[in-house]
Symmetry: C2
Subunit: 478 residues, 2 copies
């Protein structure tokens, strides 16, 4: 998963003409009847007793494994998605073509050459160019953050290797990520403009394992393109300790990364078709791709398992819900939201009938909070749904949900968003590393997620009225 910034609620409404605000009102005042509440509670309680979600994670991680955009693993994951969706009883199962960038990590080697030679463990950042074939060498210039780097004079950096030594903080809601990740995304662009030869970052992660955290970086259009890599936290400590000696620190970096021609991928979609309003969609999303080092268990096999299993359980009720529940396994979230953009484009005309969308993309930690971004007039029914989730430890949140990175391209259509906030205390120990493997997933935690998603999605698909349209965020995503 990726996260952008939180945005204030109601600002658009306060700043807009009254008519625009009225237009955000729901089509009909939404509410939950007693039978809806009872069925949702039953979905919740049955899921808490045990679900098939862990088996879905096992299957994807074991039988496919790593599946970055453009890779053979990605191709297999699409076959897996289609097969699994069909086996689980979904309708209208299909792969919808998406063009994705294709980047290969290649080999990665790093050594401190002086003052005290030490091998270090690093990974290329996603999208980095490679080094020259024999690698490159340079003196290290350490900066505390990319923001500090922007203030450094080019003479201090030219021809050197910039080391951005910013440590991510551990937080339950994962908010330490947004505070630290800018150096990963922009470090190479900023350092390149200053004439640096390469950039190293301290991994954006909360662990102290020698398993570096990769993740997307971007060059500026037409700007310099220098190699960029992440050191594991212990290796960043080592480099910092050598820099702290005051002696010049020399480093050798070799990256075999390379860009290849764009590749064909697909969003994989399956539905529980609504019995009364099949054209109205409750969208449950996740992403099928992963980064390359691990098997993508927490990012995002867990999310796919949660929403697939939640929808499957709704589909097995004695009658289908009034609206359609559409599960979308998005292609290439990690390296450019390709599937999300393709979906928003293909379904532009249908997005006004997407009455709610949510994405599970934060591992398998328990849901502890429900947030939305819905028309304010529909907040009472959100409160009713929140009450349904209280018995499994979920608190009411706010109306500023981002809903997940793959929902960002739907923002112009003001699709109402659901965010089931998970405990992310450990998530960034594993995120984008070789350590993102099946053993990090707790089956009971997955079940609780399924319980929350199943109850919520069912209520949304069955209730009278809808959530209106979402207030327009100033900056989409969270």
């Amino acid at each position: 998963m990726r996260r952008a910034l939180s945005v204030p609620l109601f600002s658009v409404c306060l700043l807009s003409a009254a008519g625009a605000c009225l237009a955000q009102g729901p089509a009909a005042s939404p509410s939950l009847s007693d039978p809806i509440r009872s069925t949702a509670a039953s979905l919740r309680d049955e899921a808490m007793k045990g679900t098939g979600a862990y088996e879905i994670v096992r299957s994807l991680t074991t039988e496919v494994g790593p599946r970055p955009a453009g890779s053979e693993g990605e191709r297999k994951s699409i076959e897996w998605g289609l097969r699994t969706m069909r086996e689980l009883g979904f309708t209208n199962v299909r792969a919808e073509a998406v063009t994705v960038p294709h980047w290969e990590p290649g080999n990665a080697e790093g050594q401190i050459l002086a003052p005290w030679p030490q091998p270090v463990v690093l990974l290329p950042l996603g999208g980095s160019v490679g080094t020259p074939e024999g690698g490159l060498e340079g003196e290290i210039v350490e900066v505390p953050s990319v923001e500090d780097l922007e203030k450094v004079s080019p003479e201090k950096v030219r021809g050197k290797i910039v080391f951005i030594n910013k440590r991510m903080e551990r937080k339950k809601d994962g908010s330490g990520y947004g505070a630290a990740v800018s150096g990963r995304g922009r470090g190479a662009a900023v350092a390149g403009k200053l004439g640096a030869a390469a950039v190293l970052i301290r991994s954006i992660g909360t662990d102290n394992n020698r398993t570096p955290h990769t993740g997307a970086m971007r060059y500026e259009e037409g700007g310099p393109r220098i190699p960029a890599a992440a050191l594991s936290n212990p290796d960043a400590d080592m480099l910092a300790a050598q820099v702290a000696s005051g002696k010049p620190v020399r480093f050798r970096l070799l990256l075999g990364s390379r860009h290849l021609p764009d590749a064909q991928s697909a969003n994989v979609i399956g539905e529980i078709v609504g019995r009364e309003k099949p054209e109205e969609i409750v969208l449950l999303g996740c992403h099928l791709d992963s980064w390359f080092p691990g098997t993508g268990a927490v990012d995002d096999a867990a999310g796919c398992a949660i929403v697939m299993e939640a929808a499957r359980r709704i589909g097995e009720l004695p009658q289908k819900p009034r609206r359609t529940i559409r599960v979308v396994l998005f292609a290439n979230e990690e390296f450019g939201l390709s599937g999300a953009r393709a979906y928003a484009e293909k379904y532009t005309a249908d997005l006004p009938r997407h009455i709610l969308a949510g994405e599970s993309d934060f591992g398998s930690g328990r849901v502890w909070r429900i947030d939305t971004r819905v028309a304010p007039e529909s907040l009472p029914v959100v409160g009713e749904i929140a009450k349904l989730l209280a018995p499994i430890g979920v608190e009411p949140g706010d109306n500023e949900a981002g809903g997940g990175a793959d929902l960002i391209p739907m923002a112009p259509a003001r699709v109402p968003l659901l965010g089931l906030g998970q405990d992310g205390t450990e998530y960034f120990d594993w995120h984008h590393t070789a350590n993102d493997t099946l053993d990090k997933v707790d089956p009971k935690d997955l079940d609780q997620n399924v319980a929350a998603w199943a109850a919520t999605a069912y209520a949304a698909a069955e209730m009278s009225g809808d959530f209106g349209r979402a207030p327009q965020p100033e900056q989409p995503g969270r």
Copy 2:
């Protein structure tokens, strides 16, 4: 560190002639005077306020790093040891030649080829031969333990790759290690005799990181020599999950390991020379070598820092203790106890005047227990020492201490042994992995270790009388 088996106390005495038992009695009844108790308590309390031990670990791990037997790192560690001992004020600082085996790990690659191709993370076991240059391929045969492997018929194994899937249990005293490690030491010998092409083991470690645990293995003299590697725990899970599918599992292994001619190394020794009985020795040991993947912070820079700092603090008292405190940084503990054997041989004539020996080789976890192996008649003074340690959380233990692997070769001389048992709950998360780095060491925990060693070593070096000679263990070491 390595550990052998616990052995029962007094068994030798019970089985021996009465005369042999009497001969184990102390030369004079040992006791602690009030001034000794007071000075030992002061050493303890001052150390708890903060010591230089962490700086010693930082220096060895940062300025030397990995230092396996025969490597360039080992050579640097000897220079480091001599320099650091002199800087800390030790006397008679010297390097004593030790011949060590020289084995290089080389590259290590593994892939599951079928039914579901996946790359895996593995390391060669210490001493393994390499594979043919292009690697080798074979079908996986999984067994739960090396003991089970011994019962398998050769037809089931011939030409295949044996996978020993035994999981180590987490225990405060580290006793899960002894219960699991036999597959690492003997797996290749047993599998080779059955005609296997190679052996893979689940890492002997308690973590779930993709950082495999290496460690020593041995072939039988004249027996087959097949390649042996350790999978990280998540990779062992993956392999087991594929085997559990019931489909044939094919694996490719490439190891570039190789044996080189023996190399010259050294034990590094420094002393606080005793003021009255300089020829009587209290030996404080650790080992200077490490395995190759990490910087050997917990195994065993921590131990060296603890005993060096403890002895240094005793040496800075207004007067030296009555006996000599000798700190020995043993060469090549990990791959054959080379330094320990050389020491025991060189000092055979002096071992009867080694009145106590202990080794710190279990990371930086707090000392929680004091064990000894001393003449039973001297147990009262052990009780007095234990009381000195009670305020820092140390409980009295038993008289069955092993004292540390490097003390095993002294067993024939019945040198009395001291074991300060540490909390090893996390030790086997890092042991013999790339994750054995400085960040795993807590400075306050190190200080508590220094407090315990300083108080104990001082009391032993200063007290009247001694510990007699140790009961002979049936099987040395623990």
